[in-house]
Subunit: 317 residues, 2 copies
Amino acid sequence: MSNKLELHSPETVQRVLSVAQQLGYRPNRLARSLVAKCTHTIGVVMEPTHTVFTRNPYASAVLDGVLECLMERHYHLKLVTMAEAQPRTLWMQIDDGSMDGAIVICPLDDSPLLEWYAHTSLPCVSVGSLVPAERGIYCVDSDSEHGIRLATEHLLELGHRKLGFVRGPENQFSAYQREQAFRAVLKTYEIPVVEGWIQGDGYEIESGYHGMQAILAQPSLPTGVVASNDLVAMGALRACLDHGLSVPEDVSIVGYDDFPGASVVNPPLTTVRNDIHGIGHHAAEVLIEQIETGTLRSGVRLFAGEMVVRGSTAPPK
Amino acid sequence: MSNKLELHSPETVQRVLSVAQQLGYRPNRLARSLVAKCTHTIGVVMEPTHTVFTRNPYASAVLDGVLECLMERHYHLKLVTMAEAQPRTLWMQIDDGSMDGAIVICPLDDSPLLEWYAHTSLPCVSVGSLVPAERGIYCVDSDSEHGIRLATEHLLELGHRKLGFVRGPENQFSAYQREQAFRAVLKTYEIPVVEGWIQGDGYEIESGYHGMQAILAQPSLPTGVVASNDLVAMGALRACLDHGLSVPEDVSIVGYDDFPGASVVNPPLTTVRNDIHGIGHHAAEVLIEQIETGTLRSGVRLFAGEMVVRGSTAPPK
DNA sequence: ATGAAAGCGCTAACAT
DNA sequence: ATGTTAGCGCTTTCAT
């Protein structure tokens, strides 16, 4: 039977449709996908440590962007979380014909996903982590080098010369990049790097809190601190307040990402705005392009952030 | 061929498995599901207005809870967003054999999903909105009546007698419930309800901001305000500060839900903690139970919240 | 124990 | 234009 609706009279189409509905007929997507060898579904894959959206505004924003794109393109989304991080189990969940491609959010440096990618022909794009080029994965992320430079130079311009940095997690390449970017800027401006002022190990509020505490335990203190993201900055902010220090009077803090909430803390965070939503959207777009053209694509796309000056920075006393 | 692994020697199993891997064989979940008539996948369905996780900590927390449960039970998750809110299109996305059941997050009062539910035999549970009993849907939510009573009585105990309320969205049943709960408490304590002090229309920061602005425009002001959730409370807080009022000195604010961020604003929010993660987990559990036993279940499960006193409330001056 | 065949619900390519 | 059939990749049943 021809299924081109235009070939039949509108009444017929309507009658068929209504009878179909009365009978409770629902086309089965599985069967359709099975024969089409195409599911119109993409997977969003997350590390186990990241799969807490309430604590992960980055992943939430990426997901929002991805969803927006999928809605436009009429694609569906499967959310995959690496339960036990059993590589085999994980791969089976992705490479089982249930999706046409995958977006991996912030794969860790030693993620089993990267190994998997060598054995599959599924299109895949990485968001939030740059993956070594030889893997051939297309990567989308914020431009850490540019953004952290913006943040650091902002403090420099205010007159700060004693600068600290609160790091992200050790096993996340982006965290390494951001720290390196910070060090590079100091080098450019011939500002000495004080190792004791570079602390922290995580992208969460708590890590920021503890990192800042470690800085505050040093014999002398920096007057300005760059945080590896806004959550870290919020933690650092709280640590300062708890330590009896005023922000920005005693110490200036710059965040990174401009998460929602950055403007609602007190003082509102000076930070670098990154279009994470746009990053997610772009990732989905490139993935779908790969799926529909049938051509794998590698490369890196960096989104440049912009400075948002709010209340957590001021000239040093 | 028998596929019971125990019947074969471990070496054989190992050999077969490794050969299978070398050949790049991946079992196809679609084909398997097609014959099994069971996908081991559940859908999480969201209203178009809600599908912005960055702005919706409630949905994020539910999703976290659902994911946790699914990981334990080895179920998969499909995220469905109602693009154009075209009922037909939406139902097709859910009732197309691609999932064994669905969790609907905060369906609006007039959601097309409710109508759909009359025509399907798919198990379904509603989270965050109580659906009329005759629909036969199992509903999970926080106990608004209990929680809002807690919040209101907290202000009452501090000595407040002039109380306001910042409402949620009009088309969300939970918002109606919360407002009614507030009114009921005032009635119980024979406190007059000042209609001008009941403002707002939304669960977002902005709505809280504007709602509070409307209250602050009244000829006389309340000394304490209950917000319909924490986002609204944050908006109300900002409105007070912008209006030159101190919190909690001039006006006390109580939130609802204890979203992450409630403790990080300044002053940290006094609020009612709701185990939204647990709500999501429970919803998934009940859904899977329905799927596996093949019996639809209706009913309501309310999670009682608890008071968390922080810095946004104090006795009236 | 082992292998062949039927069929899940659909689409595409075929024959009428 | 209409109807028939083969087959997507798997599981289950049935025959050997």
